[in-house]
Symmetry: C2
Subunit: 222 residues, 2 copies
DNA sequence: GGTGGTAGGTTGCAAATGCAACAAAAATGG
DNA sequence: CCATTTTTGTTGCATTTGCAACCTACCACC
């Protein structure tokens, strides 16, 4: 009966929520927490903007995107959800807050949905798993927080050039001058909240000025 | 000996981390978690940018500010810390991450510092307090996350007018047209990452266009 | 090897913004 | 109540940016 999780065990083990747990412990946990397996076909909405959420999700296969629609109707990509990663975690933790984003499957996907209540509650057996998981979750939250903070750092720069430099600095592994960004140009422009063509223009200028060099999403800081 | 917390009991009870606990339970917890009482005089640095933090703090009296110094040497106000509120929480949860901000006491202040390890660990007595506190903490994290998200929403608007409107919308209690912002003009400009004078100009225009009216930090949306 | 599609670069122009310097108004402290 | 300081508003100007339209390079697919 609980075989349904078996084929995803590798993916589940990679989920940061389960770091430090064995496959068996994870399986136990999923049963004890009444996790559900959900399937979504490409294009299907997983969470709607404005919806209230009480489950957290782990993407088991496929891919999803969180997009935000502003009051004027423009859609912005807010986040990518990839295999083995959590989504709706901070949302569920908000208990009653409305989702600021719409999450949509961009490929046929499956996800493990765990009721938030059972993430918080300890089970009768008083097993140690719950503690580890909560601790892991807190770590995840902290990381997401730092990510947002980093983005804000980029966004608060007043000029495109400064935004770009801040972004590069954030992705720079210490010492290295080569930086590989996880965006294409449009993604990068979106992340920095600037016009794509304005970004291209500025990148060209910066290259000409000799501050940076680049090729696609590979940048060199000089 | 543990009388040192007594005079702050009111403040501690208001701390979101302790919601749902009685005064006695809080006192117990502070002892069991080896909390320390720290005093800071006005102007003193509580946390330095770049420092690694392993305690969370509750401001018991006074006031503090988190400021961020960018690579060009400009200082930005990142957050205000007021009585009974947590600080360094997500930082401590980051375990090993460097503080992106400097926290400085803007008045003579005192704070309760709790080792992060003891926030996570359950004590021998296996008391229920720890669970409540962890749960509260997660709620706090979620709230802070939404705050950041809201700010990003403001920052990603491409025009000053849209930034202002987004900000007002976020602070609007449903139905009401009157919005009271927790900033002065400079604070507001900082939050939105725009020039103060540009903000003033745009606010005047918006008033003239009849979209809003305002007086100090009190705004009316029409 | 052609073809269609997509990502990225370029450019002109109008509009928006940063910046600096100053003016006005309000708060503060004697 | 006056003097001083702080906060807020105003304005001119140079710069930056958004926007739209178009071009080019590259890639996948037949």
């Amino acid at each position: 009966m609980q075989q349904k999780w078996k084929k995803f065990s590798q993916t589940l083990e990679r989920c940061p929520m389960f770091h430090g747990l064995t496959e068996d412990e994870i399986m136990d946990y999923l049963i004890c927490s009444k996790a559900e397996l959900k399937e979504y076909s490409k294009g299907q909405i997983i969470i709607s903007q404005g919806e209230k959420i009480n489950k957290i999700g782990i993407l088991l296969s496929g891919r999803a995107e969180a997009t935000k629609i502003d009051p004027y109707g423009n859609a912005y990509l807010a986040a990518q959800v990839t295999e083995s990663h959590l989504f709706a975690d901070l949302l569920a933790a908000g208990e009653g807050k409305e989702s600021p984003v719409t999450v949509i499957a961009t490929k046929d996907s499956s996800a493990c949905m765990i009721p938030w209540k059972s993430v918080l509650l300890r089970c009768d057996k008083n097993c140690h798993k719950h503690d580890i998981i909560l601790e892991n979750l807190i770590k995840v939250f902290s990381n997401k927080f730092f990510d947002l903070f980093n983005r804000i750092d980029c966004l608060t720069a007043r000029k495109v050039e400064d935004k770009v430099l801040t972004l590069l600095e954030k992705h720079r592994k210490d010492g290295e001058n080569k930086v590989i960004l996880p965006f294409d140009r449009e993604g990068m422009a979106n992340y920095l909240a600037i016009d794509r063509s304005a970004l291209s223009r500025e990148l060209s200028r910066m290259k000409e000025k000799g501050i940076i060099d680049y090729n696609k999403n590979e940048f060199i800081i000089k």
